[in-house]
């Protein structure tokens, strides 16, 4: 199995690294981190990661994964990236995302008529490009597997590992990663977090969300009628 993550300037590294840690432990699996060149890519939190493949020299991918982050804004209008995802996504066994990576899949036309999720702040935007925003931390619809915000990458990738290699392989990886999480607060989702904190986060992101709405509306006009 060959797995390819798209990485890009200002992506959220944990969207990718949580899933990478799971996928890299699947048997006979090669994991590629792909961008336009092999120069280091900087995450939104200032981590520098080296791609080990490029969009141009990339071999066939069995699994595609798109992480999210503030940098998706540029991708939503990047024809090279959207064409790469569209072409590779149509031939891949699994098309996956974490966080706002699903907005990029949607802009590439890969989620038309598919149930999907994304980071809670951006969830309603999914429908602009024909996806069906759906409940669940990990949403599986045929071969599209989308995860909610950032930390869902671990849950999403374990789900894919169980689909691709069976439950026992996913269980073994989960045990090796000692994945029995204990979040300190009941605050990981807007339904359980204090309203004041939800409003503060929403307020800080309002402009970004509006910008994404504009970009996704434009992307929708370029897609064939769903």
């Amino acid at each position: 199995m060959r797995v390819g993550f798209l990485i890009f300037p200002e992506f959220t590294q944990l969207d990718m690294t949580g899933a990478q840690e799971v996928f890299s432990r699947m048997p006979d699996t090669e994991v590629l981190l792909l961008w336009k060149s092999r120069e280091a890519v900087s995450s939104d939190g200032g981590m520098h990661i080296l791609p080990n493949g490029t969009l141009e020299d990339c071999p066939h991918l069995d699994l595609i994964c798109v992480p999210g982050g503030p940098g998706i804004g540029a991708l939503l209008e990047d024809e090279q990236v959207l064409r790469f995802l569209r072409e590779r996504g149509r031939r891949a066994q699994y098309v996956t995302s974490v966080c706002t990576g699903s907005l990029v899949l949607a802009a590439a036309g890969l989620l038309q008529g598919y149930r999907a999720t994304t980071h809670w702040l951006s969830k309603e935007l999914l429908s602009l490009c024909g996806a069906i925003p759906s409940a669940g931390r990990v949403v599986v619809d045929r071969n599209r597997v989308t995860g909610a915000g950032v930390t869902s990458g671990i849950d999403m990738a374990l789900r894919v590992a169980s689909l691709a290699y069976g439950d026992d392989m996913a269980r073994e990886i989960q045990l090796r990663l000692e994945y029995c999480p204990e979040p300190p607060f009941a605050c990981g989702h807007p339904d359980t977090a204090p309203a004041e904190i939800v409003e503060r986060v929403k307020g800080s992101m309002a402009e970004v969300i509006e910008e994404r709405r504009t970009l996704l509306s434009r992307a929708a006009q370029r897609l064939p009628a769903g």
Copy 2:
């Protein structure tokens, strides 16, 4: 607040990246990834990350974090690394680890008489260098904060964020990261995983654990009487 992660060849990237994603969202916080040079460091899963500081040119650190992984074997006998941790650890406000990173802290003499934890496979080894292996996914003893295996880095870092900046700041970060995990199986800890899977993982790691036992016993002989 200046945070320094030690990174090293064959470290487990999610040990570091889970915590990095949290720490990099704390207010006025700089996060350094430190190694002997600024050349790319490869994780055990083949991810290449660029350090943004070196052990030699590193400024004062308020928080030290040591991730784990197969590469810790070499660190347990690396006097430059152990001296760096010992000197910086004594002056830091918080001394933290994820997974088997705590074995490196222990070998540096930073856990003598402290309660601590590590990856479940290595837990009993902590006592070889005078630490007190303790229950809990995150163990806080004075300013030492140690996490269990790999994925505990997120829990550990949120705990530190709440200690350093208060519960509301940690809650906000938790909500931004949509950290309401849903592990697919009750299999993240040897107490809940099927015995057969626990034995398979133990068997595959038996030699590594014995090698660590030898290295930690040697490290203990170099420590001052606890």
